[in-house]
Amino acid sequence: MSFMPVILWSDALVFMLLASGVVCAWYIRQHEHLLLPWRRVAQSSTAMRSLLVLSLFLIVGLLDTLHYRVALPEKNAGETVYSPEVLSAFDKLVTQLRTQTEKTYSAPLAITLYAKESITDKQGNVIRDYPRLRYGGAHLPDIQQRDGDVLWRALLGAAVGLMIGLMIAFGSRRWLSQRDLPLRPLLITMLTISAFLGMLVNLAAAYHVLGTDKVGQDVLYLALKSIRTGLIIGTVTTLVTLPLALLLGIAAGYLRGWVDDVIQYVYTVLSSIPSVLLIAAAVLMMQVAIDTHPHWFDNSASRADLRLVFLCLILGVTSWTGLCRLLRGETLKLREMEYIQAAQAFGVSSMRILTRHIMPNVMHIVLISLVMDFSGLVLAEAVLSYVGVGVDPSMISFGTMINGARLELGREPMVWWALAAAFGFMLVLVLAANLFADAVRDAFDPRLNRTTVVA
């Protein structure tokens, strides 16, 4: 089956971000003094554990970023026609989850629908009962066998997962032991995760682990797809924030005078508008522009995607002011330092002073504020989507999941799993990000005095 790779706007930005991340990592590896704080991060067991969890999310998000369109079997005058549906490598990986949709709601691990329906039994009588699911537990002849089967599958999956985890640990033992890492906690976390994943995979092969939603979509699939949206909001936004804050903040602090006045004026104006309102206003305007120009987009995926990119842009434009203020203050302080004055006395050009002496010395602020902002942005997406100024309603995200499911608690009998899944996944992601951000801040903040010096 042939396919055509599709690079959406957000994909391109993610690749750009990834590339710059790799370049930064390579640069840091070359410089021992830059590596030092990262070593401190690596020594913290909380940081490494949360990094492990984060990297799982990251893998899902990245796989979900490799988009393509499948070629349709029929050809149009010799030319291959591609399906309008944009899929991703992740969709391909979990095809089963994506395509095995039920009729409507079903509880987690259930093998029948959630509500009774009139069904015709073998004798031709019409009875009211819970109909069996099309896919969930379809291999079981008898309803009673479910509990045993679930338990057996869970145990088997956990055992296999544990085995694979042990094998990975064994395979990488030499690489790991050469590094100064908290091995024991790392190992425990990794084995827990692999056992859990094995369990999940084995159960998901036969059941809807987190149930299905109103239209019968697997909730686990929705939750996993939401990860990419959350990650993109949390990271691509920094692509906008960073250059704005860095350039303007340093320029204001170093050049002072009218430049400082203008930049200060701009960020005071922006920050004086309550951010939700500013975002709402900008998103509303974007909506009008998108709705009045439908010819801009060739399919609904690219429209939803462009809206996501715009949302990141807007979030970036509204959130650079805090970092800019911090950088301005730090630059004001730095430019009075003796080594900068010495450089000025030697006749070093302003440009070179900025890039050689000031920029490296404010980088820790930039890094700390970026990792700290990430979790806030992921949480903000859910709120904005609820308010109606978030991502496109057709895009799967934590916000749209919560928004679609929030009235289901009021149903009789209530449907709780979609909400629980969205909140649960979000909690894990944000908690891991918060813990990691704390470790990064502790390692990079020069105000914290450290007694341990790493050679």
Partner: protein, 325 residues
């Protein structure tokens, strides 16, 4: 002090003008009134006459910035900018799309907003500061570690969860208070108590942790050592010295939001059906009523700037060394 205040207010003017120009650009230049009309009337099958009529009814048919057809001062005043945007400086917010006066809506909706936001703010402030002081008192012990861990956990939970979960448990399962609604006077108590509790819960994690950091920074200073050497008990040191000296950073973060309390909370109000400014804004966003959103943006920044001035004044109250001049 008076001279200082006058100067601050004069400084605030250019910022408000900036906000005004920004919203004007967003709402009238990026998307022309024609786009908005098309949006409101439905994208397809809309006649130019219908657009013209829609614009005329709302006064958007005038030139944007300069009316060259008019004479005298009308050249400037008979424009969209003057009548829709600049008029906000006189607190004249115009009319919403359903024809109601936005100014009057704001005045009537302020009360319910405040009934939720003010208690949330006060109770929250006391709760966070006390919790942070408790953690500071037991710093570097297991209690402190557990408290910080709890804070990190609480701040990782989405704010929507507190609202949806709280409504579900307290109202639906336990039937303690009605799920949503509002009533003026004492009868309204049962409606506001849950939103207040949830509002306080919502930022317990981040706020307590922030206050704890402030207190810990103060506690390492020399005057604290002196106070201890003098033989003061740890509690007396905390309350009489550390709390007082930590007031400046606390006020910096806190006083700014006091005027913004009028705006209410978007989420809480819409979930609990409270007829305040927050739900007004959400309704306007959903109905794409741009004049209301514009009015709220302007009102929000006006209140924010007022909050900044209040912050400066509050410094003089807690710190006698600060003189405004």
């Amino acid at each position: 002090m008076i001279a200082y205040l006058i100067r601050r207010i004069l400084y605030a003017l250019p910022i408000l003008i900036g906000v005004n120009l920004l919203t004007f650009t967003l709402f009238f230049v990026v998307n022309t009134p024609d786009d908005m009309a098309r949006m409101q009337l439905g994208i397809k099958r809309v006649t130019p006459e219908a657009i013209e009529k829609w614009k005329q009814q709302r006064g958007y048919d005038k030139p944007l910035l300069l009316n060259s057809a008019a004479s005298g001062t009308d050249k400037i005043t008979d424009t969209v900018f003057w009548q829709k945007s600049a008029s906000m400086f006189a607190l004249d917010f115009g009319y919403s799309d359903d024809g109601r006066s936005i100014g009057r809506e704001i005045a009537t909706r302020m009360g319910p907003s405040l009934a939720i936001a003010l208690p949330t703010f006060l109770i929250g402030l006391m709760a966070y500061v006390s919790f942070a002081l408790l953690l500071t008192l037991f710093r570097a012990t297991g209690l402190d570690m557990a408290g910080v861990a709890l804070c990190v956990l609480l701040m990782s939970v989405s704010g929507l969860f507190y609202i949806i979960g709280g409504q579900f448990v307290v109202s639906k399962l336990w039937h303690l208070v009605p799920i949503s609604g509002y009533d003026g006077g004492m009868g309204g108590f049962k409606f506001v108590v849950l939103p207040i509790v949830i509002g306080v819960m919502g930022s317990v994690g981040s706020s307590s942790r922030w206050y704890r950091t402030i207190f810990l920074e103060e506690i390492g200073k020399d005057y604290v050592r002196t106070a201890r050497a003098k033989g003061l008990s740890e509690l007396a040191v905390l309350f009489r010295h550390v709390l007082k000296n930590a007031m400046i950073p606390i006020l910096t973060g806190v006083v700014v939001v006091i005027p913004l309390l009028f705006m209410g909370s978007l989420l809480t109000e819409s979930f609990f059906g409270i007829p305040g400014l927050g739900s007004y804004t959400i309704d306007a966003i959903n109905a794409q009523d741009f004049s209301v959103v514009r009015a709220m943006v302007f009102l929000g920044s006006l209140l924010y700037i007022f909050g900044l001035i209040l912050t400066d004044i509050s410094y003089t109250i807690v710190d006698p060394r600060v003189r405004l001049s």
